[in-house]
């Protein structure tokens, strides 16, 4: 069994400079299989030319982040939605 992934916690720092809300507690729905889970549970591959977060159920790509010199690219088309609670404690 291949265990070279981390989880959504590992991508949170990278995403914190793009998204205003904490992504680890956000719910994400996989556009491929429909599984809805906390983003913290995504399988995250950090050792690539970019960060790749995959659905823990079907491994479909949920999200990718690429840092290109002075630009950042964020691809989220693998998620039907990301949903944040607005009354979260700090």
């Amino acid at each position: 069994m291949n265990h070279d992934y981390l989880d959504g916690n590992a991508a949170a720092g990278e995403l914190s400079s793009i998204l205003a809300m904490d992504v680890t507690t956000a719910q994400s729905q996989c556009a491929n299989c429909g599984a809805t889970k906390h983003f913290a549970e995504a399988h995250v591959y950090m050792q690539a030319p970019g960060v790749v977060a995959r659905c823990a159920v079907c491994e479909h790509v949920l999200l990718r982040v690429v840092n290109v010199r002075h630009r950042v690219f964020l691809d989220m088309h693998g998620m039907t939605f990301l949903s944040f609670g607005t009354s979260q404690l700090p």
């Binding site: 291949n2 050792q47 030319p49 790749v52 690429v66 010199r69 691809d75």
Partner: protein, 199 residues
């Protein structure tokens, strides 16, 4: 503006060899992956060349290994800045695989087992510039490095050398692959430091 960390230099080794711009020399072989390592049993492995609608050539592992292969030594350059010199491989040249293929396509779109893809001009696969490699450093290519077989195109950044290659589609139009669609350079020549869009 980042503060400089006293005494930190990172993993770079001084080199008296000629490196492409912005690269450092490494002696190990880093594994970078955008997803889980696919498990491809040899008895179901296939390599296909198609034009998007018709299959032009197809090999299973047995017929693939019956093709004439060659040993070759090349330097590798990864866009994450490491370069590894003098790596030895065995593989089948794309000149051999494409020998009887008649096409007016100018581009190749490469698919791996899993969902990885990459694209390059067809001419960059020809003239002794590319192989489907199945042995590295005297051993069968390990899964984490792309085994059973990977594409190897050493004159471009290593993300073009798709691991776990399974299909090459020849097309008239260029279509960006997994990283090319998200900021990485469409061509990727390390000697012109073509890492990202706009370079």
């Amino acid at each position: 503006m980042a503060i400089i960390s006293r005494g930190f230099s990172g993993r770079r080794a001084a080199a008296d060899v000629k490196l492409p711009p912005g690269q450092y020399l490494t002696t190990d072989f880093p594994v970078l992956s955008a997803g889980p390592t696919p498990s491809v049993p040899l008895d179901s492995w296939q390599l296909t060349i198609d034009d998007g609608s018709r299959v032009l050539r197809k090999w299973d592992w047995k017929s693939f290994r019956e093709l004439s292969s060659e040993s070759f030594t090349v330097d590798l350059h990864c866009v994450t800045r490491w370069s590894k010199f003098g790596t030895s491989w065995e593989g089948v040249s794309l000149d051999t695989l494409l020998a009887e293929v008649k096409t007016d396509a100018s581009y190749a779109f490469v698919h791996s087992y899993g969902d990885y893809t990459t694209n390059l001009p067809l001419k960059d696969l020809l003239n002794k510039q590319a192989w489907i490699a199945f042995r590295f450093d005297g051993e069968n290519l390990a899964p984490e490095h792309g085994g059973p077989a990977r594409l190897l195109v050493p004159h471009l950044y290593l993300w073009k050398s798709a691991k776990w290659v399974r299909r090459i589609t020849l097309t008239r139009e260029d279509k960006p692959g997994f990283w090319e669609g998200l900021g990485y350079h469409n061509y990727g020549d390390p000697w012109r430091e073509q890492r990202y869009w706009g370079e």
